[in-house]
């Protein structure tokens, strides 16, 4: 396994790369026939770096980058020029990184870069804007809590990762958001927003050499320095955990899953296969729960990986009287993948699916740029071809071993939201 930040140049590359003297890594993928250019800038650092009492500050801080610079003192002047060309500007804050993205017509690349660089270098974090944006962030928080499916998964992650810094959700909580003042937001910015801790990816009809020149000039003033490490976090011991809460409406939500390794672990590729068999391509859960029994309109399931920890999970909404049946069906499928080896056809199907999915899901300039920037800034996942090569080497035995090691039906995390009066 590579160390975070290390790069193995023997891998076949899916992007051209140049590192600037200040440490900013630039990746480009030229798409001569594409109409759209995406710039994605990823900064290492997110909610897992945060202290309990100010969790959510990273995300709150991310909002402040859209609230004005000396040249563009208001949010409308930051967004307006890109909106007025039919493009979009956005950002998201995750557990381990923050990603800023501008997506525009090829011809508007210069404008998009100018605005993104201005935001990242010169945002003012003005006090009165902080107070206003705090209200917006609180609105975002209650919006998430208001949707039962989303809330169930949030509870699941907090619970399954309870013994790991990943228990900090990016959105934070009301008290911590209220606690986060200018000093807290600026401290996160100063510690993490360093050129040496950032990756910029550009995908579209743009030339690498020209992109590098423009970014070198635009980001020359970016501070640099020693990037902060993620807090030390040993892999937790999986234990059974149960959370039961009430919700409104007439449907129950079940989020059931397990603690599994993250992207830095050699077993991560076999887990991709196992997850695809239970979910998208083997269709085992949807066949049993939806197609055979009509218990739910759809079954979400996913393997979500951070660098050093992950979770496999499924989310099912069903009538309250079906909750126990659905849980049993999910557990049956977990037992089945532990106890019965995949056929070689099933394995081949899963591999083919993962390869096809990569092409389809990376079809837009914005998806590819985001993928490149986030992957490189976290530094544990190989380039696409190498990733697919590792998936292709997974054997039936690997899947059986990984299922038996991690998909332990005695140590699962279960969140159930049931309709009830006291939600």
């Amino acid at each position: 396994m590579s160390e975070p930040g290390a790069r193995n140049l023997d891998w076949p590359q899916d992007a051209a790369q140049t590192d600037l003297p200040n440490g900013l890594a630039i990746l480009t993928r030229e798409r001569a026939m594409a109409d759209v250019t995406a710039i994605s800038i990823s900064v290492r650092g997110g909610s897992r770096n945060e202290r309990e009492e100010t969790v959510g500050a990273a995300h709150f801080m991310e909002h402040m980058f859209f609230q004005g610079t000396p040249r563009r003192p208001s949010s409308e002047l930051v967004f307006g020029p890109i909106s007025a060309r039919g493009g979009w500007l956005n950002a998201y804050t995750s557990f381990e990184n923050i990603n800023f993205q501008a997506v525009v017509k090829n011809d508007d690349f210069d404008l998009a870069l100018d605005i993104l660089a201005d935001m990242l270098l010169n945002s003012l974090f003005a006090q009165e804007k902080i107070e206003n944006e705090r209200q917006v962030v609180l609105e975002e928080l209650i919006r998430g809590k208001n949707e039962p499916r989303r809330y169930a998964v949030e509870l699941f992650f907090q619970t399954v990762w309870a013994d790991h810094p990943a228990r900090n959700l990016p959105i934070g909580n009301r008290e911590a958001i209220t606690n986060s003042d200018h000093r807290v937001l600026s401290a996160f910015r100063e510690a993490n927003f360093l050129a040496s801790n950032m990756v910029a990816a550009v995908v579209g009809n743009q030339r690498h050499v020209e992109v590098v020149d423009q970014l070198a000039s635009a980001f020359e003033p970016m501070p640099t320095g020693q990037p902060p490490p993620f807090p030390a976090a040993p892999f937790p011991t999986p234990i059974a955990r149960r959370v039961a809460e009430n919700t409104v409406g007439s449907q129950a939500q079940i989020a059931l899953g397990l603690l599994v390794p993250g992207a830095d672990h050699p077993d991560t590729y076999a887990l991709d296969i196992a997850s695809a068999i239970l979910g998208e391509v083997g269709r085992r859960l949807v066949t049993e729960i939806r197609d055979r029994r009509g218990l739910a309109p759809g079954i979400s399931s996913s393997y979500s990986s951070l660098t050093d920890v992950g979770a496999w999970w499924t989310l099912v909404g069903t009538s309250p009287e079906n909750v126990d049946t659905v849980i049993d069906l999910v557990l049956d499928e977990l037992r089945r993948i532990r106890e019965q080896r995949l056929t070689t056809d099933e394995l081949a199907d899963a591999k083919r699916y993962i390869e096809g999915r990569a092409v389809l899901n990376l079809q837009t300039s914005s998806a590819f740029a985001q993928y490149l920037a986030d992957r490189e800034v976290l530094g544990v996942e190989p380039p696409l071809q190498e990733y697919l090569r590792r998936v292709s080497r997974v054997t039936v035995d690997d899947v059986a071993r990984v299922a038996n090691t991690y998909l332990d039906v005695s140590a699962y995390t279960l969140v159930v939201l049931r309709p009830g009066a006291s939600a």
Binding site: F66, S83, G87, N132, E139, G249, R292, G298, E355, V359
Partner: protein
């Protein structure tokens, strides 16, 4: 990243899946327009591409059985997307067939003679990393699929099999009725979705568009296999279907392939034209309890349909309220911090449409936000927009033609809506129509059609 505000939570599978794997569905993006998952032409999400702006390059062929086939070559990405639309949406339902459009959407994917189970239908495309799904709208029932170009034969064979040879087996009818009821239950539990589900039937009361494409709670279990088969045989016929292929295939080849795949579709008869005038605006308020922490607000009213010349200034008016940095975001979010996701929207069908503004807010500030949304609509009526706003709105709409429909899938979807609903967005007429709009036009259509004091207001709160 779907738009928010209110919409279905059953977006196409591709949008829900991680790129490789990941968590991105959980984070914290700045939100954009109301983009309900719908078959309407939604402003401002027009489509096209850079070339589209100067010559749309869409090949068209009418097959012997009446199917209209469209094709457009896109060289990158190396993908082909297929969209099929049948004018069989919920507006064509009668009392006894209420919920049939939603049932169609499900049953077509539940088994064919050659592929007797849902699993056998989905597997050929799933193992290739592609996807196939369906969606019931008010006007159209839509099937969409996408695969790598190398797998295009598999996709066409599968889609044709689904359209021509689905069995609608009795046990599947019973199973899918349960699934639809669970889906309706999930919609009621999501306050944003519920707000939309209350809003549209209220605006369109008395009009065929009042019938919800989400399914019918009471009638779903009463629909018999025979009723559903009859509905299928009436509407899923050549003269009532449009197919569009977009992707890395020469357009003539794509037309040939679709023709070969669908040549055995019966011709049948086209559904009657959609030509019921929009209802009058009503001053009404619907309050409903749902959710735990936030109020969801939707306000709006009827508009003339796609046949009206007013659609161009209305699009511009919507764009003025529009994306991040424009009026609604600025006033509600960036100046006052009252909502995370204020958003305007318009949905236009052939004979009628709807304008709306939606926002979520803390329950304690519900009335303040309603007042703000109303006052922004009033301002649009009472004060001329600035020349700069007009120019920005137009260039936003034009740029969205490129950015908004970047993918083959999005383009094929726009192509079938353009063909089936009329008044195409991917056309020189549309482009010129937007360019001609003046400040006075925007004031006039706002005064004529957008009256916040005679509007339908829906509030869903804890």
């Amino acid at each position: 990243m779907g738009g928010e505000g209110w919409q279905e939570d059953s977006c196409p599978p591709a949008a829900e899946r991680p790129i490789l794997r990941g968590l991105s569905q959980f984070f914290c993006r700045r939100e954009g327009f109301v983009r309900p998952n719908t078959d309407a032409n939604i402003s401002p999400v027009p489509g096209g591409s850079a070339e589209a702006a100067t010559g749309y390059g869409i090949a068209r062929r009418v097959l012997g059985n009446g199917v209209v086939v469209l094709a457009r070559q896109i060289l990158d990405p190396d993908i082909v997307a297929l969209s099929v639309g049948a004018r069989a949406g919920s507006r064509f339902e009668q009392e006894e067939t209420a919920g049939a459009a939603k049932f169609m959407e499900k049953l077509f994917l539940q088994g064919t003679e050659r592929r007797p189970s849902a699993d056998q239908v989905q597997r050929p495309i799933a193992v290739r990393g592609g996807s196939l799904w369906s969606q019931a709208g008010s006007e159209l029932v839509i099937f969409q699929a996408q695969v790598r170009t190398v797998d295009v034969d598999v996709m066409l064979d599968l889609v044709a099999d689904v359209l021509l040879c689905s069995t609608f087996a009795q046990d599947r009818v019973e199973n899918e009725a349960r699934v639809i009821l669970e889906e309706l239950s999930a919609r009621r539990a999501n306050p944003g979705v519920l707000a939309g589900d209350l809003f549209l039937p209220a605006v369109f009361e008395g009009h065929p568009l009042a019938r919800s494409p989400a399914g019918d709670l009471d009638n779903t279990t009463r629909l018999t296999r025979q009723t559903l088969v009859d509905y299928r045989d009436r509407f899923f016929v050549g003269r009532n279907c449009v197919v569009a292929a977009a992707g890395n295939l020469p357009a003539p080849d794509a037309l040939d392939m679709v023709e070969q795949a669908l040549t055995h579709m019966p011709a049948g008869q086209a559904a009657p034209a959609s030509s019921v005038p929009p209802p009058a605006p009503r001053d009404q308020r619907i309050d409903q309890t749902a959710g735990t922490s936030q109020a969801r607000i939707v306000i709006g009213g009827p508009l003339p349909g796609l046949g009206s010349e007013d659609r161009f200034p209305l699009s511009v008016a919507n764009a003025v309220l529009g994306p991040s940095g424009f009026r609604l975001f600025r006033e509600v979010r960036d100046r006052r911090g009252l909502s995370y996701d204020p958003a305007p929207g318009q949905m236009l069908y052939p004979d009628a449409g709807v304008w709306m503004a939606a926002a979520g807010t803390d329950p304690s500030t519900t009335e303040v936000v309603i007042d703000l949304l109303r006052s922004e609509m009033r301002r649009l009526r009472e004060e001329p927009i600035s020349e700069q706003e007009l120019a920005d709105a137009k260039s936003f709409l034009e740029g969205s033609l490129v950015v908004g429909l970047e993918t083959p899938l999005a383009q094929s979807g726009q192509m079938i809506r353009d063909e089936a609903l009329g008044s195409p967005v991917l056309s020189e007429e549309h482009r010129q129509g937007i360019r001609r709009v003046s400040v006075d036009d925007v004031s006039r259509v706002a005064q004529t059609h957008i009256d916040p004091d005679r509007a339908t207001l829906v509030v869903v709160r804890p």
